[in-house]
């Protein structure tokens, strides 16, 4: 596993968003001197397969993760907040945004290394029984490419979308991922999943009413690190159910995504080891991606 300037830092265009917030060229984010948490996490904030170089900072989203990481023996852990929270800070919802409709559902997904084992038909039934408005299902790119999975949801009358590639190893990076995700979430009044995950936190912060219900499914060879799904249900019980207290959910999402702990750009640049605006030779060319 390659570390230090970890390829995971670029997942979902995370470093691109941070670069934009810092006023730097977000088409080619500078080297981020450390590891960045790339998803909502019930452990120490880092992927389980991470190897560490001593002294290299680990940037996590929330104070709770920092405390947990510290208790697990991690040091050099710093809270910077999630790229999603920065994106929302830069892209406030326009006042004249069209009214939100329906539910955006994220079926629990596998990843490149582990596929999902579960009954999509059963899940579809539960979604139908719960949701009143139109339903959009967002699949992970892997499942989206699987024609059978896609067709299963389409046959149910759901709109099926994919936010894009996650990317990896500096290849197939998708800086537009979070932007597409935000645009989709803002079209929907509800965000739901069969497992509590980053997308539910994101949607809650983006103004959707969250819900977590249905067969949570299984990953191939799923390991229950940090207490696994059982602990998630126990510890974040306020976020489980078809109808939740939105203000409680928003408070939790704000804390988990570190939206209450964002750094000013000048501080973030220093903390990430990024060039200051004055010292970036390409500053003249710096502009944000237009979409």
């Amino acid at each position: 596993m390659e570390c230090l300037v970890h390829h995971a830092n670029h997942y979902y265009g995370h470093s691109h968003v941070l670069a934009r917030y810092c006023g730097l060229d977000d088409t080619d984010p500078p080297r981020l001197h450390g590891y960045l948490q790339h998803g909502w996490n019930i452990g120490d904030g880092m992927a389980p397969d991470h190897e560490y170089v001593p002294g290299v900072p680990k940037f996590v989203w929330s104070e709770r993760v920092r405390r947990r990481a510290w208790s697990l023996g991690r040091r050099e852990v710093y809270v910077v907040g999630s790229p999603w929270a920065y994106l929302l800070a830069m892209e406030p919802e326009p006042a004249d945004a069209p009214p939100r409709r329906g539910t955006l559902f994220y079926p629990f997904h596998g990843w490149e290394g582990q596929h999902i084992i579960g009954n999509h038909e059963g899940l579809i039934e539960e979604i139908r029984a719960t949701e009143e408005g139109p339903v959009t299902v967002c699949l992970y790119w892997q499942e989206y490419r699987d024609k059978r999975v896609r067709a299963t949801y389409e046959r149910a009358g759901f709109r099926v979308i994919c936010h894009g590639y996650r990317g990896g190893w500096w290849k197939d990076l998708d800086p537009g991922f979070l932007y597409r995700q935000l645009a989709e979430q803002r079209r929907h009044s509800r965000v739901a999943s069969n497992r509590l995950c980053s997308a539910i936190m994101y949607g809650t912060l983006a103004g959707c009413e969250p819900a977590v219900y249905g067969d949570p499914m299984q990953l191939e060879r799923e390991k229950s690190a940090f207490g696994g799904q059982a602990r998630i249900v126990r510890e974040w019980s306020d976020l489980h159910g078809a109808a939740l207290d939105v203000s409680v959910a928003r408070r939790i999402a704000t804390a988990e995504l570190g939206a209450d702990r964002l750094l000013p750009p000048a501080e973030l640049r220093r903390v990430l080891g990024w060039p200051s605006l004055r010292h970036d030779p390409d500053f003249e060319l710096t502009g944000v991606l237009t979409r």
Binding site: E2, L4, V53, G55, P57, Y78, L263, P265, A266
Partner: protein
Amino acid sequence: MTTLIGGEMLLWSDLDGSRGRGPVSGDALGFLLSQPFGRTLVAGPHAPELLEALPPAQVTVLARGAADAELLATRGLTVVCGSLEKMAAVPAYDTVIALDGLDRLHSAEAEPHSWTETLDLLLAVLKPGGRLLLGVENLFGIHRLTALPATPTDAEWTVPDDHDPQRPAGHARLLSHLARRGLHVQRDYAAYPGLSSPTVLLSREIQADAALAGALEAAVATAVQPTTDVLIDPVRLATAAVRNGLATALAPAWVVVAHRDPGTTADAALPDAVINGREFRLPAAGLPRGRTLEDHLLAAAQRRDLPTMRDLLTTWQSSPSAGVPAAQIVLGDNAELTALAPAADPLTALRAFAASAIAGGFAPLWPIRADEAELTAVLAGMTGRELEPSEVPPADKPGAHAVGDLLADRDRLTRELSEAKAKHEWYEQMLLRREAELKRVRQMNALLSATVPGKAATTLVGGLRAGKRAMRSVVRRTRGS
């Protein structure tokens, strides 16, 4: 007029400070001397300037060095020169002033006297109903706790020691000892930074007001700035002592005003505190209420509450107090900042806070080297300000080092070096991997160039380049004509 009473030291001066510490001096003590004392004995080395407030006709000074006696006599004072035990034990004085303590009243000619014996000798010359102003060094004070071992001076043919059972150890024991000797303590003060020239005197009463802790911390912090190398930073220790209600227990010295007459009421004329040349009286109008800004900042750092730190830093750095060190600002209940020191360059003040944060062990809150300039730049960033470490004004050359900090620095540098080595190894591995990949890509390039489409592409690119060159030369020629 000088009277030699015996035991006088002919080749000696306590006042010139060449044989040991200098005489008791300073404005702060002057505030205790500005009242009618009647016939007064000043026992021990007191700076002549300090005695100017007293009416010379009523003052007798006991000096053990002949040179000091001569100097004091020229100022119109009555001088007895010699060792205390040679004085006639006649209760002749309304007031005895011994602010230097009891350790320099006997000459080298005298047998050593215990602290209690010396006190009794002083009390023997005090009239019934008379008053004693006594300074006492705290042998468990901050100055001793932070000091490196020192070589004894000429004046220390015997040294005060807390093993001495005749000497009250600790403030409470001092007061009960005085009470047993028939003295009624009217006021007592914790004196900082030492017995010799205190700049801060804090009464028990003023310390009891918890809301004044910030102002008192700031006062004590200024007073105990080290001028020589120390074991640990006395500023941190003294401010912590104030926070923990130990300002008196750990004070370098105490000053006591006591009477022999039980009926005497408290001296209203005496202030509740003297801080840097100003006196304060309860209910302490003039002293801001609240904790210091530095205390608030470090409390937030300790909780890892960086959002609060950002707010506090921003409030501070955008206020007129931006150039005042955070340890010299009191943050009031309504978030108002009261500066207790003059303002200088805001970056210098920010750097001073960075130094406090590093010394307090808070540097690991940020992913940077524990370097004052680096941390200053991050702190500026926390207020939204763009600042490079190179723009931070250099620190004054430190007048003193704390051994504890040096050890911590050594451990930190060792760790940073091993981390740097680990990173270096990682970069090397990464470089090798990238080189291998580059080699592979180049080989593939060479192979592809050899294929028919590759050759075609090379020809096309070559053609385009030639076209570009031709265009350029045409443009040049056209411009030239």
